[in-house]
Amino acid sequence: MIRSEAPVLIDIRDLHARVEDQLILSGVNLTIRAGEIHALMGRNGSGKSTLSKVLAGHPAYQVTKGSVRYMGEDLLALDPEQRARIGVFLGFQYPVEIPGVSNLEFLRVSTNARRLQQGHEELDTFAFEDLVRERLGIVQMDPAFLERSVNEGFSGGEKKRNEILQMALLEPVVAILDETDSGLDIDALRIVASGVNQLANADNTTLLITHYQRLLDLIKPDYVHVMDAGRIVRSGGKDLALELEQHGYEWLDRDVANQELA
């Protein structure tokens, strides 16, 4: 939903970042307003996942230049847990398995961390169980997964559903979903996409990182951006994704090169 008067939720300016000695982001600019759904595409290694990790505050990535403002606040000055508490959510491409930590306990601790930040009361175990059981419906997940260790022994699809369940509990303002569609069969893809659609509203935003049009058939983006060599080289509407699907990235390379020549 595009509304030009909607507040800017995230504003990325000239963002440069490196991991170890390698520069991966070299000048990303992106502005996202409330209510919008953005898709970020691009070849493997173009910097999409790095951008998502930098926004979430992964300690291995070092920002060397540029800024990110989240609802006007300097996001990069905050620790990862603070970013999560104020409403930034990263859905992992490879959700981490944590043997021995109960999924239910993990979900409760993280939900309460967010609630405290929002000025709500913490939920005790009983109240939380009620909430989590209700939210399980959004991703059609079996309650048995709550009793297991975080992501341990989950299939690819189960892990991704668990990510969307966390999103449903944390109710983020900015959700960045890194290849949430990878490793999903058709049914799981539908369930995950439907979960994301149910959670999208006029006050939040979703940034979908994906390689495939099939996800964008189910979650309709307002904007599509293409990254290459650490920058966004092209932005457009949802037709851009269709064109990419048809012609591949080489078409875009030529197009961008022609533009630069002109």
């Binding site: 990862p80 847990e81 999560a84």
Partner: protein, 417 residues
């Protein structure tokens, strides 16, 4: 286990030992003879020294800080409220035998004749009577808690020893005899809150088909030491599960030694030791298979923080006659600081050629990706580390006997209590 012969040398610990022996009253009571033998042995035996391979990483020199005197009676323990589903025996060194009716059905005290006959029998299998911590215990101990278990005992038993803040040496000895097909859950809790040495020797004899689930919870003190030696002999078709968890001892040395007399038995060992500050925890385990088709499942876990040092030496002996033995040993250690130290050594001696034996050792820090995942969900770094630490400890702690939960081992061991 025979101490390596050493050149005549006198260390501060030898002198301390001599002082201790001088303070003791003349051997008396039921164990007078055993005490006399132990004292003679101890008098002749050099104290453990880091030149001996077996003690290379375990320095007992700090024991001399402890007053060389025997603690006569233990104070009332700092224990949780008694659980009506568990039989608790609180033990003081000089207390007489408990009344028979305090024991659950199926458990009785060993009579004098049996005690004299059976005491030391299991220790002899591994030559442990010649081992310094055992000789020290024997020199001091004046009471043995001897229990005979027949049939399936539904009610867990817990034995509580709290040396409190008393200064000196506390010695406790336990002898368990499990008759054929007997089964019991037994939790042993050792605590200290001052400068004392806790010397513990346990012998357990499992007849055919018997099942012992033993837990050792050891909550220590930075000025206290724990030397525990646990000798188990197993007849075929018996099963033993030994679970130990310890923390905060200035020095802790735990020595579980299992002998499968004819193989064909099941042995399970689970241990967790936590060190911080300048603490030292050392587990030296020994499992001997003396016949075919025995099995071992061993997991040793350690967490080292501060300047702490954790040592694990896991010996598994599979001689030619122990064909078709299945043994798995895994040592997993977490290193939480740059100055902490872990020494871990699986030691499998396999002569039999038709066996399935595996071992492995890992030493790692908390996983950065796991920490980041938790942080990215709003969990602060301290709480995230604590969650991961709890998870690391959980598979050992969850296998403790059921009576352990009243002691809140997770909270106490991780200093959350």
């Amino acid at each position: 286990m025979v101490e390596a012969p050493l050149k005549k040398r006198s260390s501060a610990l030898d002198d301390w030992c001599k002082c201790l022996l001088k303070t003791l009253d003349a051997p008396a009571g039921r164990l007078a003879q055993s005490q006399a033998v132990g004292r003679e042995r101890l008098g002749l035996m050099p104290a453990p020294h880091r030149h001996q391979e077996d003690w290379r990483f375990c320095d007992l020199a700090s024991l001399v800080e402890i007053e060389p005197r025997q603690i006569d009676a233990l104070p009332q323990p700092q224990a949780p409220l008694e659980n009506s589903d568990v039989t608790r025996l609180v033990l003081g060194v000089d207390q007489g035998p408990q009344a028979e009716d305090s024991l659950p059905p199926g458990v009785s005290f060993l009579n004098e004749v049996d005690l004299q006959q059976l005491l030391g029998q299991t220790l002899k299998l591994t030559n442990a009577e010649e081992h310094w911590p055992v000789a020290l215990n024997q020199a001091l101990v004046s009471q043995v808690i001897g229990l005979r278990v027949s049939g399936v005992v539904d009610r867990p038993v817990e034995l509580v020893f709290d040396a409190g803040a008393d200064e000196g040496v506390m010695a406790a000895r336990l002898l368990l005899v499990l008759e054929e097909k007997a089964s019991i859950e037994l939790l042993q809790v050792h605590m200290s809150s001052g400068s004392n040495l806790n010397s513990v020797v346990i012998e357990a004899q499992l007849k055919r088909g018997a099942h012992l689930h033993h837990g050792l919870l050891a909550f220590g003190h930075t000025q206290a030491a724990l030397l525990s030696h646990l000798a188990v002999e197993q007849e075929p078709a018996s099963k033993v599960t030994l679970v130990s968890a310890s923390h905060r001892w200035g020095v802790m040395r735990h020595e579980p030694q299992l002998t499968q007399l004819e193989g064909g038995a099941e042995s399970e060992l689970r241990a967790l030791q936590l060190v911080q500050g300048d603490q030292l925890a050392d587990t030296h385990s020994l499992v001997c298979f003396k016949g075919t088709e025995g099995s071992l499942d061993q997991l040793h876990k350690a967490v080292a923080d501060g300047n702490g040092r954790s040592v694990f030496n896991g010996m598994v002996d599979v001689p030619r006659e122990a064909q078709r033995t299945k043994a798995a040993q895994l040592s997993r250690s977490l290193l939480l600081s740059d100055k902490a130290r872990i020494d871990t050594k699986p030691e499998l001696e396999i002569v039999a050629d038709d066996v399935k034996c595996t071992h492995g050792a890992t030493v790692s820090r908390l996983q950065q990706e796991e920490l980041f995942y938790l942080q990215s969900r709003g969990v602060g770094p301290a709480q995230a580390s604590q969650l991961l630490l709890r998870a690391f400890c959980d598979d050992v702690l969850s296998s403790l006997p059921s009576a352990a939960k009243d002691w809140q081992p997770v909270e106490r061991l991780l200093d959350e209590a």
